[in-house]
């Protein structure tokens, strides 16, 4: 699988009409064609395309990601610089949105028409209809410009080092991403809880006289986690890819903004490496889904069932 994806990514990038030499050499230096030919030879661009693919694959495997066409920097250096920012942002948003969505979804499902249910509907409408960067812009306008409580963007201001200096910068992007992620998650949790509530074992538990909160927590909640976990696992690739729009709105120096810069400049080595990484995370994520599912469902764990 990983092999297929890498091949796809490689050959797709070679389909693009951009000649890497043109991107690397400024036009005024391109007049010296003898040097160009030599450069081409050194970079292995004259080799057969299949051979080039295996070269690239070997490099990727050994952690040799190559250089950015745009800045000439090592891609691994760019990633090392940008990755922590994206991880910080996406991980906080993932954790926060999961906790919020599970709580809201559980209560919304348990008591339909209650406050949690209404709240979750509001979030669902926002999540469906409003582009996520608009949430960011609105938050930015209110909290950063109108009341000036929070900084307008960037991860860190000059001269600030500790985590607590960085913390205010984190609030708005994380809030935006959390709201954007909430909608789908709440809906899934709610529907899943509703489905579970209708199952026989819930009635059994209730008729045994188990207190309602325990029914909800240890019977309903655990059994409705399955579909929610799948959604979560599908979001793991964001950890590497970052959220492009949110990062752009807040000028967050993460992978998302790196992708944008790379795409605008046709910096295809960078795009290839990042897509490769995302693909890897996807594979890991789908593996995780299977594991988590088996942990949650004793039938799968014991290898029984059908």
């Amino acid at each position: 699988m990983a092999f297929t994806i890498s091949a796809l990514i490689f050959f797709a990038s070679r389909l693009s009409p951009i000649d890497p030499i043109n991107a690397m050499v400024p036009p005024d230096m391109a007049a010296d064609s003898a040097n160009l030919v030599q450069l081409r030879e050194e970079l292995g661009l004259n080799d057969h395309i299949i051979l080039q693919y295996f070269h690239w694959l070997k490099d990727i495997m050994t952690g040799e990601f190559g250089y950015s066409l745009q800045s000439g920097q090592k891609i691994s250096e760019i990633l090392a610089l940008r990755m922590p920012a994206t991880l910080e942002l996406v991980l906080s948003a993932l954790i926060l949105s999961t906790i919020l969505a599970l709580t809201l979804g559980l209560f919304a499902g348990a008591k339909r028409g209650g406050i949690a249910d209404k709240l979750s509907r509001v979030f669902a409408v926002i999540g469906i209809a409003v582009p996520d960067f608009f949430i960011g812009l609105a938050l930015l306008n209110v909290f950063a410009y109108r009341v000036e409580w929070l900084p307008t963007g960037n991860r860190i201001a000059p001269g600030q080092v500790t985590f607590w200096d960085r913390f205010p910068h984190l609030i708005l992007p994380v809030a935006t991403l959390t709201i954007a992620m909430l909608a789908v998650l709440i809906r899934y949790t709610r529907n899943s809880v509703l489905d579970t509530l209708n199952r026989d074992f819930v009635m059994t538990a209730r008729s045994k006289g188990v207190p309602e909160w325990r029914v909800l927590y240890s019977h309903v909640f655990r059994n409705s986690l399955g579909p929610v976990m799948v959604i979560l696992a599908f979001r793991l690739p964001l950890l590497v890819g970052g959220s492009i729009l949110v990062e752009t709105v807040f000028q967050w120096p993460g992978i998302g903004t790196t992708i944008i810069a790379a795409v605008s400049a046709s910096d295809y080595p960078v795009i290839m490496v990042i897509s490769m990484l995302i693909a890897m995370v996807i594979l890991v994520a789908s593996f995780l889904v299977d594991i988590v599912k088996s942990l949650l469902d004793p039938r799968v764990r014991l290898g029984g069932g059908k």
Partner: protein, 308 residues
């Protein structure tokens, strides 16, 4: 409506009357058609051409002359938003149609034939689905270049999976039905069975997926153009109007430049989703029992829709 009435009406009439008894569908339809009609008469409504530059009156807030203010070049925002609606809706509808076409054909073939083809297409769809959509779109855009038609193609290529899964699922259950067996006994060719006999039976999920996809693509276009990588800036689309908000000064002081385009996106997308919900209720046989005249009453009293 009484039982007797039911027998006399054609299916279309039943469908229409059912739809009219569905509040969310009707409200959605009203929203969409209002926006579409005003988009057609964009110039007449706002009284100004969308490209008319008037530097003296630039960056005016909303007023009676310019209901939604003017932009950096003094162009009327209302006029631009309404003509942006044309482009955005065009992109959404066409891309959704193409995505559905791909999804339906693949889903029909994979679902009916099963086996190896099914496994391969299923794997591909899983892969495309898990890959963060925007990044995938960006990669494609970097390969194909910008432009309104490229955006549509890219959306179609990255958005067919939902339809594919729905159609495939339907075909899986339908292919065991007796009438399909009869078809096979008659010796009908596979394409004929798949497209002439089975496909019409899967129309309702396809129609619903079509509306949902329109909403998704319109939002995606907004995001893509906001980043400056979608439709070229010269064409006003809702997303391109939002590009102005890349500038912090605009976010801070000229709120009408980004709030109004975003609100029009939100309104239209909500409308499309409402219609989708309505269609789902009317078309899905499992929801049939829910269709009563009382729904409007229920709706007005405050309970919204029929969600479970």
């Amino acid at each position: 409506m009484s039982k007797k009435n039911h027998d006399q009406q054609s299916t279309t009439q039943i469908f229409i009357s059912n739809f009219l008894h569905n509040p969310s569908g009707v409200i959605g339809l009203i929203i969409i058609s209002t926006l579409m009609i005003s988009a057609i008469f964009a110039v007449q409504i706002s009284g100004v051409e969308p490209d008319y530059i008037d530097p003296i009156n630039s960056r005016l807030g909303p007023s009676w002359d310019h209901l939604m203010g003017t932009d950096q070049l003094g162009r009327d925002m209302l006029s631009r938003i309404l003509s942006g609606a044309r482009q955005s809706i065009y992109i959404g509808v066409l891309a959704s149609f193409l995505a559905n076409l791909i999804g339906t054909v693949l889903g029909a073939i994979a679902g009916y034939l099963g086996g190896k083809i099914d496994t391969v297409v299923m794997r591909v769809s899983e892969l495309v689905m898990t890959f963060p959509q925007l990044i995938l779109v960006l990669i494609f855009v970097s390969l194909l270049g910008q432009g309104i038609n490229n955006v549509i193609i890219v959306f179609a290529l990255t958005g067919w999976m939902t339809t594919f899964r729905l159609v495939r699922g339907e075909f899986f259950s339908l292919r065991e039905e007796a009438f399909v067996e009869a078809d096979r006994a008659f010796g009908f060719s596979k394409p004929r069975i798949i497209f002439k006999h089975l496909l019409p039976n899967t129309m309702s999920p396809i129609v619903v997926a079509f509306t949902v996809n329109i909403a998704i693509f319109i939002i995606a276009e907004a995001g893509l153009s906001f980043l400056g990588l979608g439709v070229p800036v010269t064409t006003p689309t809702w997303g391109n109007l939002l590009t102005a908000a890349q500038n912090p000064v605009v976010v801070n002081e000229y709120w009408w430049l980004w709030v109004f385009p975003a609100l029009s996106i939100a309104t239209f997308v909500l409308g499309v989703n409402f219609v989708g919900d309505g269609l789902r209720d009317v078309l899905d046989p499992r929801h049939k029992s829910l269709i009563t005249k009382n729904k409007w009453k229920k709706f007005l009293v405050g309970r919204f829709g029929s969600k479970k």
